[in-house]
């Protein structure tokens, strides 16, 4: 798949998922168990994405000190309840500065 194919199929798929909610009768999918699972999907996937982004390069482990430092500082910022922009800017600045050093 080229990057355009990925972009366009993501757009089409996301829109189809949204429209589906307006077309199906609520009782079909609106069971409490289904709702809970769908709402928990982001928790599992975000946690996995953080790990992969932080320590992987393709399918091998890659511990880049600058990136790890950036992610760690971002984690501390989230823990201290910093606003979103502060979190990402702190992470990028840290990674950039470690690379300068």
């Amino acid at each position: 798949m080229t990057s355009w194919a990925l972009v366009l199929s993501t757009c089409a798929g996301c829109y189809a998922l949204k429209v589906l909610g307006y077309l199906v009768p609520a009782r079909v999918l609106h069971k409490p168990a289904v709702r809970r699972l769908v709402e928990l999907v982001p928790v599992a996937l975000l946690a996995a994405l953080i790990v992969v982004e932080a320590i992987a390069d393709g399918s091998r482990l890659h511990l880049d000190p600058a990136r790890l430092a950036g992610v760690a500082v971002g984690g501390v910022a989230v823990w201290r309840r910093a606003p979103f922009l502060v979190v990402v800017v702190a992470a990028a600045l840290t990674a950039g500065l470690v690379r300068l050093a």
Partner: protein, 244 residues
């Protein structure tokens, strides 16, 4: 993108106060909340635009995603998987898994918005965390509709403008030198943080998902560890729901 819920919570608290002051117009408060949510979302849009181009997408591709997919978590996931060297199939599958909750939102919004035909097709595009939270926080269906359409308009404008700005900024600077590769995991941390504070089950699922992904990195093609982490949801099937 959880700001919608916070702002909507503020709006709900305000209307609990003893009686509206003279001349108070609820729709005005709703529009003000919608503006606040839209501004907050702008920050995520800048981060998304910058992350998308540093992952190898063009400025136009980043903008098309924000215009037509218009769902932040999915967009970040797709970019995150390809930045990590994952294939398009894995990126698409992760993105659609994250987009599946918009289907539930649509089912909740349909009876509130009562839209048909073209307006329904347009309403579907705006069905995301923020607009659903704002619409559901209102006291009457009329206010819910006002909240929905104003939040949609504001978030759509700021999300797309911010994506363009972030993508342009990301394409003129060297992403590695400026540490942009740390932006995506930091953004994910910021999205996940609030969930971990409120629920023990969420913490267990996050930890399990992270462990599954970490163990699979060296033994599976890139992108697969993220998808496989969905197996952590099995914990929810057997665990009764309760707050921490």
């Amino acid at each position: 993108m959880r700001r919608g819920r916070q702002a909507a919570g503020v709006s709900g608290a305000a209307s609990d106060a003893e009686g509206p002051p003279a001349g108070f117009e609820p729709a005005r408060g709703v529009r003000r909340d919608a503006a606040a949510v839209s501004l907050a979302v702008g920050a995520y849009g800048i981060a998304f635009g910058a992350a998308a181009v540093s992952a190898g997408l063009s400025v136009l591709q980043a903008c098309v995603l924000s215009l037509a997919a218009f769902t932040g978590g999915t967009q970040f996931a797709v970019v995150g998987v390809i930045a990590g060297g994952g294939g398009s199939g894995a990126a698409l599958a992760s993105g659609l898994l994250l987009g599946s909750r918009n289907t539930l939102y649509g089912m909740r919004l349909a009876p509130l918005l009562r839209v048909r035909g073209l307006r329904r097709m347009l309403a579907a595009l705006g069905t995301i965390d923020e607009t659903t939270a704002m619409a559901q926080a209102q006291q009457s269906p009329a206010l819910a509709r006002t909240a929905y359409w104003w939040t949609f308009a504001g978030v759509y404008a700021f999300w797309n403008l911010a994506t363009l700005l972030g993508a342009l900024a990301g394409s003129v600077i060297d992403p590695i030198r400026f540490g942009l590769d740390a932006v995506v995991p930091a953004a994910f941390l910021a999205l996940l943080g609030p969930r971990l504070r409120t629920s023990r089950l969420d913490r267990r699922i996050a930890l399990t998902g992270a462990v599954i992904a970490g163990l699979l990195i060296p033994v599976t093609p890139a992108g697969v560890p993220v998808l496989a982490a969905a197996a952590a949801l099995l914990l929810a099937v057997r665990t009764p729901e309760r707050a921490s």
